[in-house]
């Protein structure tokens, strides 16, 4: 298992190089890869910060769009991109919110995502649930505002250290 994951990540590194992905795009690809773990908090946090830069933001959306429209066999790409998106909606730039409100149908139409793996396990269920949660969040302006505010507040408090 470890070996096969390692060789996959070697292939991914090769692809990153050949297809000329930028550093930011490689970070998105790593965070939303087919590895059975992640994305990690560190990865998501770094990408959230990058989303405040307009260039990085566009590059990120390009990869996330590809990943969200990937086929059933790559359900992990879709699931992990939704996980990352959820994080970005809370802690990333306002542009992420605007972009996905405009393109909400990309998420909405994943509510019926289907994939049953070779062992008969319904791997699509995770994607369907996450797509529902994110659709609801995007459609609830007040809740999204509140969650973004409290997240920012918490971040400020943590970076300031404990109150005197």
């Amino acid at each position: 298992m470890a070996m096969s994951n390692m060789s996959k990540s070697v292939v991914r590194t090769g692809k990153n190089y050949l297809k000329g992905f930028t550093g930011t795009q490689i970070k998105v690809r790593d965070a939303t890869s087919n590895d059975p773990w992640g994305p990690s908090g560190t990865q998501m946090n770094e990408l959230a910060q990058l989303s405040f830069n307009q260039n990085d933001f566009i590059e990120m959306m390009e990869i996330m769009d590809k990943r969200l429209n990937d086929k059933g066999k790559n359900w992990r790409h879709v699931f992990k991109t939704l996980t990352l998106l959820d994080y970005l909606l809370h802690a990333g730039s306002e542009n992420v919110v605007i972009y996905f409100r405009d393109n909400i149908y990309i998420i909405k139409t994943l509510k019926e995502f289907q994939y049953v793996d070779d062992f008969g396990k319904d791997q699509g269920a995770n994607v369907r649930q996450k797509a529902k949660d994110i659709t609801n969040l995007l459609q609830d302006e007040a809740r999204l505002r509140e969650e973004r505010r409290s997240r920012a507040h918490m971040r400020d408090r943590l970076s300031d250290g404990p109150p005197p």
């Binding site: 959306m61 393109n103 990309i106 909405k108 019926e112 289907q114 319904d122």
Partner: protein, 274 residues
């Protein structure tokens, strides 16, 4: 036009392929990944003419399974596609009628009555949307619409009647689908037509509930609303049974959450939001 990174030429050729694959002769549900691509296309380009053209040129009419799958595909794109799909579809009734007329007498697998009933329902749905442009394909609730209609009680009354007529038609059609299940056979293709029906009926139900509540708050003429209350209650019990039967279909509950209604209809004199 789209803010997504897209390629129009590629999208057109993929659309043709997706329509073809969604309506292939296998007696299964139309694959959701292909249906989804058709829906996304209409949002990307705010257009559905390529979709309707693509559907019309598919050689599906001499195969009952393909015809049935094409209707499920069309229904889902009507529901979830860009609003322009509902407008463009007004010019497609000829194609729908052809589907109903062409389905052969040699309907070996028993889809002919289902196809005719499905076409009937879709044509009613299109008529509804022609008269009530403010509703989207899934009747998703938005407060301003119910407010808009109660300012004019006559119009509100008529809208509610039209919605209830559509709801009755969904009920008749779903019963027909259940009546055509085949004991030993795989019913996946038939069951997949219930998915858009569950969604649509629930959208209508929620809409009716909030509109009727709003009307009860606004009017003094409670007697005038009595026939609507009676019919609403009847539909509540019908829907409850429909959802209960759907909840027993494993294939369907894997795909969507089937709503569970309370035993008794909600009280229309209550206002949940105060």
């Amino acid at each position: 036009l789209p803010t997504r990174p897209v390629d129009k030429e590629k999208a057109e050729s993929e659309l043709t392929l997706n329509i073809k694959k969604a309506t292939n002769p296998d007696e299964t549900s139309p694959k959701q990944k292909h249906v989804r691509k058709c829906i996304v296309y209409t949002w990307d380009y705010h257009s559905s003419s390529s979709f309707w053209n693509g559907l019309r040129v598919q050689p599906i009419l001499n195969d009952e399974v393909q015809t049935f799958k094409a209707l499920i595909l069309a229904h889902k794109v009507l529901q979830e596609g860009h609003p322009i799909v509902l407008r463009d579809a007004q010019g497609q009734s000829g194609w729908f009628e052809t589907c109903a007329r062409t389905v052969g007498s040699d309907s070996m697998r028993g889809y002919a009555p289902l196809i005719r009933a499905y076409v009937n329902f879709i044509l009613s749905k299109l008529r509804f949307h022609r008269h009530h442009k403010e509703f989207n394909g899934l009747f998703e609730y938005e407060e301003y619409i119910s407010l808009k209609n109660i300012d004019n009680p006559d119009e509100g009354y008529e809208t509610i009647m039209d919605l209830m007529n559509l709801q009755d038609q969904i009920d008749q059609f779903q019963k027909l689908v259940f009546a055509h299940f085949r004991g030993s056979a795989n019913n996946e293709c038939r069951i997949s037509s219930l998915v858009p029906l569950v969604k649509e009926s629930y959208g209508i139900y929620k809409f009716l509930t909030s509109m009727l509540r709003a009307m009860h708050r606004r009017t003094d003429a409670m007697d005038a609303l009595e026939p609507l209350r009676g019919r609403y209650n009847t539909q509540h019990y019908g829907l409850r049974r429909f959802y209960y039967e759907c909840a027993n279909l494993k294939y369907l509950t894997n795909l969507i959450n089937v709503p569970k209604l309370n035993h008794d209809p909600p009280n229309l004199f209550d206002s949940p939001d105060g």
